[in-house]
């Protein structure tokens, strides 16, 4: 059996793992093959971990086994969280990924010193900076999503100047270390400054921008792992990091496009703050409201209904009630579809996962372009907890802060119904002219409560 040396065996196993990782993502392209993709990824990861443990470099097992058990002990409960908690779980996993990449980079520096070359120092410095800032940034994002920290943007004068100076300080420290890698006292300083920058980077960002931020942090976590692959000369890390990094990057670009904004605008724009004043000056206009009974009557009489869910549905955990509404309307022969805006919710694909959890068949969940061609032939558009993504001002009002953002054209449906707690414009503070249209009915109440009232009316509706 001595065909391969230990090192070669390890390298071949890693190559198999890399192939399986690429297949995993390939199979994820469609819901019919996606679970096979997870299996491929799992086999690849298990092979790589098994071969590494078998590697003769590893001499001390006891603590490694304990660390693996601790990791599994943390990971399994985090894999079992409720679907509404998936955004914060994802942010936390970006934090863990960045933490481990940073830790290995830091260990590599201290083990290598005083033999660390300038080139290696450059790689380690960059890797540790990105890993550290992603760690704290992701923790702040998770805190905001879990609502331990306020979701609204936290801003102060000169914020961008302070944040950029801190980033600059981290880079200067890294450059000083490249000039002399043996300046060991600078290394912890660089880490602390990078950790501080992560906090400053995410604190000013509001909840509505989370889909972009979470994607961007995903991308940073991936690139820090790829950079670690450069530091350790490990191709498997380079490939896995490049896949994760490019995935996060593509998602960030999709999210930015879906909001018609640039990266810099998301990171340094502090969106919510600007319009708070503008919203205050809107004059009193009348809205039409309706009761659950009236809403149920209109829905039952419709041929085609499009439901537009948003973060409000997630907060109210109304997805199961929405499924009941879907069931009772479908039973009455109404064609019900769902219009999903790319940035609805708090992370990419958030609404799809919640609706799939509620057992709504995925072919009923349509993307923005597909549903927009349906909406002009739709009898009722029912909006549940979504706001900005339905705001027609994005098409018509050049002075609106969201002008140019692609929206779901719910105003083209014959009747629009909006379930909303009150006329309060919410923390983004952008007024939505949709609510004042003649064809719009406001359904004031809690998303979950109002939907269950409609379902009850539909169930008993034929009796009276």
């Amino acid at each position: 059996m001595n065909v391969f040396t230990g090192d070669q065996l390890l390298s071949f196993t890693y190559i198999i793992a890399v192939v399986l990782f690429i297949l995993a993502i390939k199979w994820l392209s469609s819901p019919t093959t996606a679970r096979r993709g997870v299996l491929a990824g799992e086999i690849g990861a298990a092979l790589a971990v098994g071969a590494t443990l078998y590697n003769p470099d590893v001499t001390q097992y006891k603590w490694i086994i304990i660390a693996l058990i601790v990791g599994a002990g943390v990971g399994i409960p985090l894999g079992m969280v409720h679907m509404t908690a998936v955004p914060q779980r994802t942010a936390l996993s970006h934090a863990f990924g960045a933490l481990s990449a940073a830790m290995v980079g830091i260990a590599e520096y201290y083990v290598g010193i005083p033999r660390v070359t300038r080139f290696e120092m450059g790689e380690i410095g960059l890797e540790v900076i990105i890993g550290s800032l992603t760690f704290t940034g992701s923790l702040i994002a998770a805190g905001k999503l879990q609502e331990i920290l306020p979701q609204r943007p936290i801003v102060y004068r000169g914020q961008n100047f302070v944040s950029l100076s801190v980033l600059g300080a981290a880079l200067v420290l890294a450059i000083l270390l490249v000039i002399n890698p043996n300046n060991t006292h600078l290394f912890p300083a660089m880490i602390i400054v990078a950790l501080a920058f992560g906090v400053l980077l995410v604190t000013p960002i509001g909840g509505a921008d989370m889909p972009t931020v979470i994607s961007l942090l995903n991308s940073y976590a991936g690139f820090s792992a790829a950079l670690l692959g450069f530091v350790l000369n490990s191709k498997v890390l380079v490939v896995a990091g490049a896949l994760d990094g490019s995935s996060g990057f593509i998602l960030s670009v999709i999210m930015c496009k879906a909001m018609n904004r640039s990266f810099t605008n998301v990171m340094f724009g502090a969106f919510g703050q600007v319009q708070a004043g503008a919203a205050a000056q809107t004059e009193q206009r009348t809205v039409r409201s309706a009761s659950p009974e009236e809403a149920a009557g209109i829905l039952a009489a419709a041929d085609k209904v499009v439901i537009v869910p948003g973060y409000g549905m997630a907060v109210a955990q109304a997805q199961h009630k929405v499924r009941e509404l879907y069931d009772s309307l479908t039973k009455k022969g109404v064609d019900v579809k769902f219009g999903i805006h790319p940035v609805a919710g708090r992370m990419p694909g958030h609404m799809n996962v919640l609706l799939a959890e509620a057992d709504i068949p995925y072919e009923r969940l349509l993307e923005m372009d597909a549903i927009n061609s349906d909406l002009p032939q739709t009898d009722v558009a029912l909006i549940i907890g979504a706001n900005d993504v339905t705001n027609p001002a994005a098409r018509t009002d050049a002075s609106s802060p969201i002008y140019g953002m692609p929206i779901l054209d719910v105003d083209k449906a014959r009747t629009v119904m909006v379930i909303k707690r009150s006329m309060n414009p919410g923390f983004a503070g952008i007024d939505n002219p949709l609510y004042y249209f003649d064809k719009t009915l406001m359904l004031f109440g809690d998303a979950k409560g109002f939907v269950s009232d409609i379902v009850r009316e539909l169930g008993g509706g034929s009796g009276h």
């Binding site: 993502i25 392209s29 481990s100 290995v104 692959g229 000369n233 896949l243 994760d244 490019s246 990419p348």
Partner: protein, 98 residues
């Protein structure tokens, strides 16, 4: 510039292109599972952490390595687990029971 760096750069660029082409094709329906799956794959950092901790060079490197083992292994286990849970929920109208 070390030769290793050049070969790693090749791998990085090629993997980046492969990733770009594959991820572009993932339906927006599955963007949340995509993020949790790539996160689980990224947790392959655990192999580097195991080697750092297992080589037992300094106390500091062992401690840092072990933290990294626990953090990345939790991502690996939790990431695959939740991705599979999510994907099990995506059903077509025909296969839907109850």
């Amino acid at each position: 510039m070390p030769a290793d760096f050049i070969s790693n750069l090749y791998v990085f660029i090629l993997a980046g292109f492969v990733g770009f082409e594959l991820i572009k094709r993932v339906s927006p329906l599955l963007h949340t599972p995509l993020m949790s799956l790539t996160n689980a794959l990224d947790a392959i950092v655990v192999v580097a952490a195991i080697i750092i901790a297992g080589r037992h060079e300094t106390h500091l490197s062992v401690v840092l390595g072990l933290i990294a083992v626990a953090a990345s292994f939790s991502n690996m286990v939790g990431g695959f687990f939740i991705t599979d849970r999510m994907l099990r929920m995506f059903k077509t109208g025909k296969s839907k029971k109850s």
